[in-house]
Amino acid sequence: MAVCIAVIAKENYPLYIRSVPIQNELKFHYTVHTSLDVVEEKISAVGKAMADQRELYLGLLYPTEDYKVYGCVTNSKVKFVIVADSSNTSLRDNEIRSMFRKLHNSFTDVMCNPFYNPGDTIQSKAFDSMVSAMMVQAS
């Protein structure tokens, strides 16, 4: 389960960022922000190779002492970043993938909302609850 989930716009500013331990919010901001370097690098590296066969899932961006950062990028260059606890070894790659898929679907729903202005921060309740479901329940 994730401890922080972020949606980042094409222009690399956050559309949505939510983390579990509220007191450490800024830390996750930093984590996600720095992960963008890797995301960008991966995108450009893949872009060079084969644009068509690009996989959305970017895999593990980088591990830190406490967390693992996973990334995923849509065709419209919107990025999803999931930060998971390193101690949670049970988390498989497949689970991360399915989380990204869910996140992507929910994001698509948000974009389909005619009242949503692309580029604005996401304030959808449905999206919020979906993200909450994926998060580690703060104990």
């Binding site: 956050p14 800024l26 370097d37 690098e41 590296a45 980088y62 002492e65």
Partner: protein
Amino acid sequence: MSIPDYMQCAEDHQTVLVVVQPVGIVPEDEFFRIYKRITSVAQVSIRDSQRNLYIRYRHHYLPENNEWGDFQTHRKVVGLISVTTCGSAKEWPQTSDRFHCQKDVFGATLYDSRLLVFGLQGEIAEQQRTDVAFYPSYDDCPDVEKRVEDFVESIFIVLESKRLDRATDKSGDKIPLLCVPFEKKDFVGLDTDSRHYKKCCQGRMRKHVGDLCLQAGMLQDALVHYHMAVELLRSVNDFLWLGAALEGLCSASVIFHYPGGTAGKASGREPSLSLMSFFPSPLSLSPPSGALTANGISADTSSEIGRAKNCLGPEDIIEKYKESISYYGKYKNAGVIELEACVKAVRVLAIQKRVMEASEFLQNAVYINLGQLSEEEKIQRYSILSELYHLIGFHRKSAFFKRVAAMQCVAPTIPEPGWRACYKLLLETLPGYSLCLDPKDFSKGSHRGWAAVQVRLLHELVYASRRMGNPGLSVRHLSFLLQTMLDLLSDQEKKEVTQSLENYTSKCPGGMEVLTLPDGLKLPPVPLSKLPIVRSVKLLDLPVSLRPHKQKGLLENNLSSKSPFIYSPIIMHTRGEERTKKIEFRWVQGDVCEVQLMVYNPMPFELRVEHMGLLTSGVEFEALPAALSLPAESGLYPVTLVGVPRTAGNININGYHTSVFGVTSDCLLDGLPSVRTSGCVVEVIPSLPRLQLSTSLPRSAHPLRPSKEELSSSVSVQLFNGETQQLTITLENIGSEDLETLEVTSKTCNTKEKLFGEFLSWDLEEAVSQLPLKPGQSVTLTVNVKVRLDFSGGENLLQDLNDDGISVTGLPISSPLRQVLKPRAETKALGSESSKTDYNHVKTLEAVMTFKYSGGAGKVEGYYRHLSLGVHVDVEPSVFFTRVSTLPATRTRQCHLLLDVFNSTEHELMVSANNNQDLVLHPSECQRMAIQVAKFDFHTLPQPDQEAVRYTNPKLLEEERLHAQASMISSTLGITWNIISFDGEASVEGVLNQLVLEHLQLAPLQWDVVVNGKPCDCDIIADCKVGDAVPLEVKLTNRSKNAVGPFALTVVPFQDYQNGVQNYDLQDAVTFIGSNTFYIDTVKPTENSVCMGALLFLYTGDFYLNIKFQDDSAGQGKELPPSWFGLPSVHIKALEVRPLSEHH
């Protein structure tokens, strides 16, 4: 070995280390000047060989690190250059001793050493010594470089000999075991004869020889030795040295592949100098950004591999680095070596542009534990990590580490926090967080970025700059934070930020100047355009009375429409155009102009804005700043900013100036796209005079009803119908220009009421004669307000009167003056209430007087101003003429006009007319009034202009004619009324109907009868003597438009006995001389015809002559109205010739 050299790169493996150190007291700047000159000799090509020797200079080197010299020879100090000052020969021995002491520090490893002595002259300096050079001063040392080159060459000789010595020493039975400091104790008591040990010794020695070869410029040999070393060491699992051998292999390959180097030019030496010399400024570490691309990967590596088959390919280099680092990782004490290897690998990868792998190496480097690091080392480490991340293009990561380094500079454990360094580092992180300190970047739409992180960073900048003791910077950063991140701050944060901003500005007020940091970075000013937020800017026109108008004739045609279409539904406008659009109205030089801003306060507390003023260009403008206080979270709030243009021309409102929380800001509208405006350019015309108007009448409370025109002021007065009031208007020139022209016009507002006579009349002559009017002077104008509405009573009243049962229609009532109405019975009043109110209804009359004036420079340009004064008159009814009729008078040329006058006021009223007695009317009383009037000859009225007749409506013409006639009658009658102290006139104009008019009109056929040479009329008695012939003359003047006649007139004499009996049988008394019938021929228009006759009276007495019109003309007379033939009857008194025989 605890302190890593983060600046190391792969090619450093081919250098020899030379330490340059001061001995004794050497001024720091002088030392570094010499040091710089020494370091310029970084590469020496050796005579008689193709080889180059590379030298790495250090002015500070830990002897501890030197102990690792066997492990990697480039860590070994092989040369020492000491710099010293020596003033006199006496000091020389001491200096020399010191030099030797220093030599001892690195003694074990030194190949050679030099001492540069400055300042010593004389005997000692004369001696030629290879290891000491004497210079008279720091400025006079031309051959330092030469000396260093010689020194390097001597090092090379030693190096080369060592290399040859070790390389050829293959068969020697005792190969010494080289080891690193921490290994030494491990080998105590080991079997030195074992195969394993020997191999170990061999391998290590191979590796060492490889190092020496590399240093001596023999790359190929080095590669061979390294390969052999790797094989030997792998077989004995000597991992530390295997790692070193692999790294050596990598280094040699890198040197081969990337001759340009991996660290970037010159970046290696100098920064480390600054790092050591003054503590927290590892800032200039970052290599020139162009270095990466300039060095690049060698174009075609494969061809070179053929030549150097032992050389590793670019892929292999990384693989081997990985392997080497993994071996290093096995040894806790080799942390520094591992870290340095990582850094070197990253640099290589950066050149290879393999960013992801580089980041992995860096990630690994982060986790290498070097044990307890000092704060300084931590800062250094984070800075270098930041730099390396920057190198591989991970700007965010770079910024993150830079920020960590910055925080480390001021860690609480540091006794003297380096706020200045912290601030500098923080500034460098800004690009990584995509933050630019220019607020212009944020003016476009809403903020997009990593708000939480950016806010944190800005807070840190503020704090750091404050601790640095530069409140100006704090203010600037706080302003920036407020301006750009306002929407993202919570209410609490807003409060805190503004509070601290106020604290800082109390020490250092914020302004609009660009702050320049010592390193040249410029902090642009931050105008607080969001405190308050301005929604719209609207330039206001001058008040109505002050607006300038252009003279009609001078109106230039400035209809310059860009589109050929008169109308298009497509509105083609852009904001930019709107801004520069010129506004219709004009401002006047010297007059206060207003601009209205709609502002609101986004803060959760009251916002005090001081010195809010306008920023303009184009015209000299004196802004009058305002101070305002906006309530918390206020809605749109209008603020009017004023100023006075001091010169004429086009003025452009560029923006506004505010002072909030002690920060003054100039907010330009160009930078605020969210501000709505309908144009900001307005023409300022030269100054015009200003008039102030005051009147003798009270100001009107209610404005004129049809308020199409905007009035400067208005007066109201209550008048009885017919009353005249004088209105004195005082015009004072309150401006600064002379008043030169003044025109007055008036316009009656279209009321339904019919108005007779001129409502407003004045004489301007006197006022105009006082012009030009100097400032401060005033002129008065008297205006007569005369209200003459319709005095006729409608049918209602007539009905009302008839109800009283008193006939007013009986025309042939002989008494000319007769009371028609007694005070009405009370019972009647109830029923007639409704009709009565009709008469008490107050009517209003409204007119606008316009005063056009001009003067000064504005007049020259053709501008004028106008004041308009609304005159509102409530007209109370005074008298009514309820009915009008005529009675013929005794004279043919006169008649009686009967008017039923009704007093509709609640006061006693007196009516009088010309040649008539006064009539007193009680309230609501109606009386008949008879006025004898001479009939009117309307032909004397001026005829309308032929030209005008042709173009005007005939109906209108007719109305005009009637009006002229009526006003003539009215003025002749001169009916006035008097109520207590008021008096006024009453006009019958509206009352007169066609019938009455006809009666009052002189017939077009004018008959004059002259008896005995005396014109006669009904009441004139002509005297004659009995027996005398009395000539009778009848004259007909035709004033009609057609010829009349012929007519026959018969004169019939008779006697009236005044008792109703008339005696026509007078053949005995009166004789005609000639015929008693006259014939008048056709009389053409405007001509006249006279017929004469004579009478002879035989007796005395009163005789009358009745001139009868005998209608025997051929039907012509019948068509003419009978009133045309009103011939006067002639009264002749025949008298005795002698008075004695008067009675017979």
